[in-house]
């Protein structure tokens, strides 16, 4: 009869970029149970809506998470626009799509780097982050910010990208894409990477669905669910299919993200070709009255914003259900039965964004 131990993991841990705490109940080297406890990043910003004007709140929404900051701002704007029935100009929708896809590329590259760091492939980590800087350069050139863009506002966007620049971006993405391809080849084919990721943390399709997981975690288990298919922004005019993998293990999740990078490059190309001219925003007056659940596919999965307004400048309720929050139960389930050495990998493959989870 082996002995049961409880190993505390986090909140400050070398492989964790962010603070989450787990109590791992182990028997020898195997994890029997994992109990997450959060709250190290909880700020309580949902309650800030009661103090801030609904138009200014975009700034706070962007700062829910610094990785998909643009998409947070965009989801919030969509929710309010939907309630107020604002017809956002087509061009603004396309611009949003471009920025959202750029965010996805940089987020996935960042994740690939962190994952490489978690399984001890230092040079791969550095390489991914080097490539990511190329994407950030594009973002900086078009919005002025590197992580917080501040370019989305209710009724449209703040900045335009002229056609010349847009062409340049597509070209640059082509060259960066080739380089990314060389690096991601390592993830797909390298023996040591496969050794660390294949067959680890398997989640079957039914389980993933029952646990309410979203995003790449769900798609890696063979369920084709991508919130971009809801047709927000300009996605209704773009052609794409959700990236799906069957295996459901850590390597499948890695493959999904790798393929999504190239899908995003392609989507930006399509958007650049189809982008119409015209205004980039409409003036918004008045105050929202009503409620809406706005859903957007972030790099980590579907995010749900609930906005309830009562016709005043301050919203009544603002609630964010972030993808990582929905993926936490799956992480707990995957950790059960895993060996201690694989714990960091499994935690990282759900791409945890703790500041999203706790807001």
């Amino acid at each position: 009869m082996s002995q049961r131990n409880v190993i505390p993991f986090g909140p400050q841990h070398p492989v964790l970029p962010e603070p989450i705490h787990l109590d791992l109940v182990t028997e020898d080297e195997t994890v029997i149970e994992a109990i997450p406890s959060i709250g190290f990043v909880h700020r309580g910003l949902e309650k800030l809506v009661e103090k801030k004007d609904y138009q200014d709140f975009v700034y706070v929404a962007e700062r829910i998470c610094g990785i998909c900051s643009f998409m947070h701002g965009m989801t919030y704007c969509q929710a309010v626009e939907e309630i107020m029935e604002i017809a956002v100009p087509e061009r603004a929708l396309y611009l949003r799509t471009v920025w959202a896809e750029l965010s996805r590329i940089h987020s996935h590259l960042m994740w690939l780097g962190l994952a490489a760091d978690a399984f001890g492939f230092e040079s791969l980590f550095m390489n991914c982050w080097r490539l990511r800087e190329g994407i950030l350069d594009i973002i900086e050139a078009t919005t002025g910010g590197r992580v917080i863009f501040g370019s989305c506002k209710i009724g449209g966007v703040r900045r335009d990208i002229d056609d010349e620049t847009m062409k340049g971006i597509v070209e640059k993405l082509g060259t960066i894409g080739a380089e990314i391809g060389r690096t991601t080849d390592v993830f797909l084919n390298d023996y040591s990477v496969q050794h660390r990721l294949k067959g680890i943390g398997v989640l079957s399709g039914e389980e993933a669905h029952a646990l309410g997981t979203v995003g790449p975690v769900l798609r890696a288990s063979g369920v084709a669910m991508d919130a971009r298919k809801i047709d927000y922004a300009a996605y209704r005019n773009l052609k794409f299919e959700p990236v799906v993998e069957k295996a459901g293990d850590c390597h499948a999740r890695c493959r999904v993200r790798v393929r999504e990078i190239f899908q995003s490059v392609d989507l930006i190309g399509q958007a650049a070709r189809k982008m119409p001219g015209g205004e980039i925003f409409v003036k918004v007056t008045g105050a929202p009255n009503g409620e809406f659940f706005s859903r957007v596919e972030q790099p980590r999965g579907e995010v749900i914003y609930y906005v309830k307004a009562n016709g005043t400048k301050n919203l009544q309720r603002f609630r964010v259900r972030t993808p990582t929050f929905a993926n936490l139960p799956a992480m707990v389930k995957m950790l059960e039965g895993a060996s201690i050495a694989d714990v960091p990998n499994i935690i990282l493959t759900i791409d945890p964004c703790i500041s999203c989870v706790e807001r």
């Binding site: 909880h42 700020r43 309580g44 610094g66 992580v147 917080i148 999203c356």
Partner: protein, 160 residues
């Protein structure tokens, strides 16, 4: 003397939005390459000389921040990165935010920006190096002074 040539840093996220965190990590990666200053990122507080904190502190992370700070060997410097870590920033009015790292531990360098740019983070850490060097001199002086006092005391006792 050459202490500032190889300081190790530890990074902790105390309720930041991640924006500043990734910029801290970005400044360590090839493009900005903080490692050219001999700086290594470590996960162990007992190895670290510079403590980089991002985000305004909240009720739960307050103890963690304090803990890490206490575990670090002397001399040590604290760099607060981002406007959140400086004053609370946009989150200042949130119910769960204390507002600024300096509410919990003494801060030496404040790096402004939301998110702080890698260049300014590097600048902040280089500033911290000088402070670290100064601290080291003071620390050595205090130690030798203490040793002297102790010797004196012992002599005194012997004469007694």
């Amino acid at each position: 003397m050459f202490f500032k040539k190889s300081p190790w840093i530890i990074h902790y996220d105390a309720t930041s939005c991640n924006g500043c965190d990734i910029e801290v990590v970005a400044s360590l990666t090839p493009m900005y390459d903080l490692e050219r200053f001999g700086i290594v990122n470590t996960g162990n507080p007992k190895h670290a000389d510079i403590f980089v904190v991002t985000g305004a502190v909240n009720e739960s992370s307050r103890m963690v921040v304090k803990n890490i700070y206490d575990q670090m060997p002397n001399p040590k410097v604290v760099v607060a990165v981002g406007i959140c870590a400086t004053s609370g920033g946009v989150f200042r009015e949130c119910y769960n935010v204390l507002g600024g790292v300096d509410k919990v531990i003494p801060v030496d360098v404040y790096v402004p920006g939301c998110a702080a740019r890698p260049e300014s983070i590097i600048d902040g850490i280089i500033t911290a190096l000088d402070i670290l060097e100064r601290r080291l001199v003071e620390f050595r002086k205090a130690k030798s002074e203490a040793r002297r006092q102790e010797k004196k005391l012992r002599r005194y006792h012997l004469n007694d």
